[in-house]
């Protein structure tokens, strides 16, 4: 008895306090979800509206939290414990006070090929022919108009496919989602076997998602900074970069010494100059798909002269940094910008 008490006491000492208390769903939601979904499920994230919650099961919500949406803004939360995910789910569910539907996990039999034909006719105009969604962005608007109040989900997304059961997908197609562009296809006249065929086709996207492209892993091995030795002196290198930028439709922002603003101007290292520039059309395009892009702005190349007289050009590796955002659309634009940045550096080093 005494030993058991000691063991219990030691376990209690070893456990962080948050593991002993029941997880607080509201606090966890506030910490992990509210930045995008607001306190009530609105915001820049996909709206957690009552009509949406009425069609999804608790398992779907939990799996979505766990898996996120690969390549969209919604991250995965593998670090949260099962109890924490349960607590967040219960908190969200309590908004309506209505229990979510439950769906069987059993797969639905269907004709995938026929489902593909139906998909082209009834679904592709919103979900795009390849099922990847409307195109730009995710969730609701970020200070701009969009053609949909809610972006059609990327139903090819591995996070969605891992979370949604066949029966849930079928119900959404049958009854639609009130308040969104997703209408009831029962009302359109589709029948039970049509729904099963559509689900079978949507489920077939899963097989194409199993192996991620190797490029991402290769990129992850590279440095987040592009660094090159300049063949020219400090002043010539700066002038060459400006000349290279001028030919590429960018607008200059005033040059800044790297340390400017951090100390009196007399104490600032004048051999570290940052050349800053922006193409506002490109910026607008990128901010439409990722409003938090400012954390990497503006485009800039810093020229430094070391004590030994070596001059270097240093820029952010946009291609790699863009991967931090979990946003495939941003990656495409960042790739364009990355190529332009390399061209500028190439020209400047001639």
């Amino acid at each position: 008895m005494k030993i058991r008490s000691i063991v219990i006491a030691l376990i209690a000492l070893a456990c962080p306090p948050q593991l002993l208390a029941a997880p607080d769903g509201a606090a966890l939601y506030e910490t992990n979800c509210a930045a995008c979904h607001q306190v009530n499920g609105g915001g820049i994230g996909l709206p957690l509206s009552a009509s949406k919650l009425a069609t999804v099961s608790d398992n779907y919500i939990k799996s979505t939290i766990r898996h996120g949406r690969v390549g969209r803004i919604m991250p995965a939360f593998p670090e949260l414990s099962s109890a924490q995910v349960d607590a967040i789910t219960a908190y969200i569910r309590n908004w309506s006070g209505v229990a979510g539907p439950q769906y069987p996990d059993t797969p639905l039999p269907g004709d995938r090929r026929r489902g593909g034909s139906l998909f082209k006719i009834y679904c592709s105009s919103c979900h795009s022919p390849d099922g990847s969604g409307e195109g730009l962005g995710t969730g609701v608007t970020y200070s701009r108009g969009r053609s949909f109040a809610v972006m059609p989900p990327a139903i090819t997304n591995p996070g969605f496919l891992a979370s949604a059961s066949d029966h849930m997908i079928k119900r959404v197609i049958m009854l639609g989602r009130p308040g969104t562009a997703m209408k009831s296809f029962l009302d359109v006249g589709l029948r039970d076997n049509d729904f099963n065929d559509l689900v079978s086709y949507i489920r077939s996207f899963e097989a194409r998602q199993r192996n991620p492209p190797p490029a991402v892993e290769e990129e992850a091995q590279k440095s987040p900074a592009l660094m090159f030795d300049s063949p020219n002196d400090f002043a010539t290198t700066i002038a060459s970069i400006k000349s290279a930028i001028e030919g590429r439709n960018f607008r200059y922002l005033p040059d800044r010494h790297l340390e400017k603003g951090l100390a009196d101007s007399s104490q600032v290292n004048r051999r570290q100059m940052t050349i800053r520039y922006c193409n506002f059309e490109q910026l607008y395009k990128m901010m439409r798909v990722e409003p938090r892009l400012g954390v990497g702005l503006p485009c800039r190349i810093t020229v430094i002269e070391k004590d030994d007289g070596t001059v270097q050009l240093i820029a952010m590796n946009m291609r790699l940094i863009a991967q931090l955002f979990n946003n495939d659309q941003l990656l495409e634009y960042a790739e364009e910008l990355h190529e332009i940045q390399l061209e500028i550096i190439d020209d400047a080093m001639l």
Binding site: I3, A35, Q38, R144, R256, Q267, R292, G294, T302
Partner: protein, 162 residues
């Protein structure tokens, strides 16, 4: 079970629990119910309270609206510690693209979203242990600043501010 076994059990349990992974967010983001202007003021105050100096504030929205693009208010706040920036840029020039530190602030209607790259997410690209420690320090400071932004909401509400 003897005392020695109990101590071993306790140590194993303590080690396994204290090594639980933290929440690995690449982009740290919080929402403030304060409006944009209040949030900008609170943010700069919190940055300075944490021992940093605001180097400058970049207006992203003015360039966009000036060219006819629709956007809400958007700023990037650059900040750092002079000696730290000088030392790190000399020892690790590959860090220069991330110096000084920055936080993006943008309005979403009457609320404000505040974001920053999580410096620890850069750690996987840099092998040097000194940098890993530095990244963790920055992450702690950034998380604390962002928490201030959320707690500022409470303070403002308690003071009867809008």
């Amino acid at each position: 079970m003897n005392t020695k076994s109990l101590i071993k059990l306790w140590m194993a349990l303590a080690l396994s629990l204290t090594s639980l992974p933290g929440i690995a967010q690449n982009i740290l983001t919080v929402r403030s119910v304060q409006d944009f202007e209040h949030s900008m003021t609170s943010l700069q105050s919190s940055i300075e309270t944490h021992g940093y100096k605001v180097a400058h504030v970049q207006r992203c929205d003015s360039g966009l609206t000036g060219l006819g693009y629709e956007t809400d208010r958007y700023r990037v706040v650059f900040f750092g510690k002079h000696e730290e920036v000088r030392r790190l840029s000399a020892d690790f020039p590959e860090l220069i693209p991330f110096l000084p530190l920055k936080i993006a602030v943008f309005a979403e209607g009457e609320q404000t979203i505040i974001s920053s790259i999580n410096p620890t997410s850069l750690g996987e690209f840099y092998a040097d242990d000194r940098l890993r420690i530095q990244f963790k320090r920055w992450e702690n400071d950034l998380r604390s600043i962002l928490t201030d932004m959320q707690q500022g909401d409470t303070t403002a509400a308690a003071a009867g501010e809008e």
